[in-house]
Amino acid sequence: MTRVLFFIAEALRALRRSAAPSLAAIVTVVLTTLLLGVFVPVIKASSTANQNVRSQLALRVFLNADATKKQALAVQKRINKIPHVARTQYISRGQGLKTLRKEVGEGPLSRGLSQLNKNPLPPSISVYPDDPDNLNSIQARIVRPTANGKPKPISPAIDKVNSSQQVANKIRTVTNAVKIILSVIAVLLLVASLMLVANTIRLSVYARRREVEVMRLVGATNWFIRWPFVLEGLLVGLLGAGVAIGLLWLGKVTIIDPLAENFALIDNFSTIGFKQLVGLLLGSAVVVSALGSGVTLRRFLRV
């Protein structure tokens, strides 16, 4: 117990003595943790958005407008036999029009629809894959590319096959870019705070080389010498993370929570819980500062 108190007293003494570099390190840790606290939910939300889009991916197989229901069901049966097809759904001309009306809702477009005297939609079959990655292979099985370049569908009743893959790919590219950029920034910030913590500890080791020398002379064990420095690094990390988490909580209470009440959108994003986020941030701050101290002690405190 006296030992622990001794270590903490030594660490605090060191922090007070080298206030400027300690403050710089703490501020950097605050900024890093703060940005990490914003980035992590954003990255999490964008990947869930991406997954939502991917789970809705399907192939639309449009049949010829004059295809009979019997033909359509035969095509559906053949598609069902293709590997990786999870399920298929036959959408008749009437059903298609109904869905379209619903999607368009009220407005000028719906009036335009009602002016049509004839249903313009062909019957279609929606094909849902077991995994979005298999969309291409399924499409290739339905419409076989042939040697002369003209694709040949498995049934003459098939007019064309539409894939929502392109749309999905675009969304995926954007979310991936966001993810990569945010991750790179986060990693750079982590490296910066690690180096600043390391530098603080290095200055502290330098400022206390006499103490270290005396400790070695009178026979203090290596870990007894190291502990105050490790604690100093941890204190920097924890102080920084504490301030940042306080700010994040303030932001959550004053900005995000009122918005979430008004906009279902924000609430809908399945993102990380605040408690988990706090745990993650504290954990990374501790790891970063411990690593920072550790690196320095290995290099500058040969005991």
Partner: protein, 234 residues
């Protein structure tokens, strides 16, 4: 070089600058390892100790240096207490031992002074107090009087002699030939890393600390005023 110190012996290492006095001292606390040969302390080869045992070896050896190596931002009391703190001494132990050792070195009146408020001799006494507070069986001193005037040096030597008389083996490295000659103790002379002379205590006889001080002072031609280490001077 090869030599052996007996338990309770008081010996000097002398020689010109760069002859290896300090290196010898550092080899004894395993600060440096000899390229060849053995260093045995209490019959054990200290270079075959596990690294984690080295601090425990150093707890059994007191060391004193020419530049004192005191912590400037701590008081005399805290400087001595530091040695106990960092080796895991409890509060009770510190309260009991520190005032006692400071009385032994004659600094009981300057417990709360900082090192820069003390004279060189007083600082060296603090450093000896710190080295001896754990009552190690071996005390090494590297040029303990190098920065001090002759009168103060006698006080320091008197203190080391007194520590020796409690049964502690004392090994002092110095280039102060005058002092060594008058102490009449065993002398190991080094030159360029070799032992060139090993003189067993010429005219050695057991004398009390104060007899010792009086004799040395008389031989060096300095008065008997000055530090008395808390003992009445005779």
């Amino acid at each position: 070089m090869s030599f052996a110190l007996n338990r309770g012996e008081f010996a000097f290492i002398v020689g010109p600058t760069g002859c290896g006095k300090s290196t010898l001292i550092r080899a004894l606390i395993r600060e440096v390892a000899p390229a060849d040969g053995q260093v045995l302390i209490a019959g054990r080869d200290i270079n075959r100790l596990r690294k984690s045992r080295v601090p425990h070896l150093r707890r059994r050896i007191g060391t004193v240096f020419q530049d004192f190596k005191l912590l400037p931002n701590r008081t005399v009391y805290d400087n001595v207490a530091y040695a106990l703190q960092v080796t895991g001494g409890g509060r009770g132990e510190i309260r009991a031992k520190v005032p006692e050792i400071l009385r032994l070195v004659g600094l009981q009146g300057k417990i709360h002074n900082y090192p820069d408020q003390l004279s060189g001799g007083e600082q060296q006494r603090v450093s000896i107090a710190r080295a001896f507070v754990n009552h190690p069986p071996l005390l090494l001193a590297d040029e303990p009087t190098g920065n001090l005037d002759p009168e103060t040096s006698i006080g320091i030597m008197q203190l080391l002699y007194r520590i020796n008389r409690t049964g502690t083996t004392v090994l002092v490295a110095t280039h102060d030939r005058d002092m060594v000659d008058r102490m009449r103790r065993r002398v190991l002379a080094l030159d360029e890393g070799r032992l060139v002379r090993d003189e067993a205590s010429a005219g050695y006889h057991d004398e009390s600390t104060s007899e010792f001080a009086v004799r040395v002072r008389a031989e060096m031609g300095v008065g008997d005023e000055g530090h008395t280490n808390g003992e009445p001077s005779s």
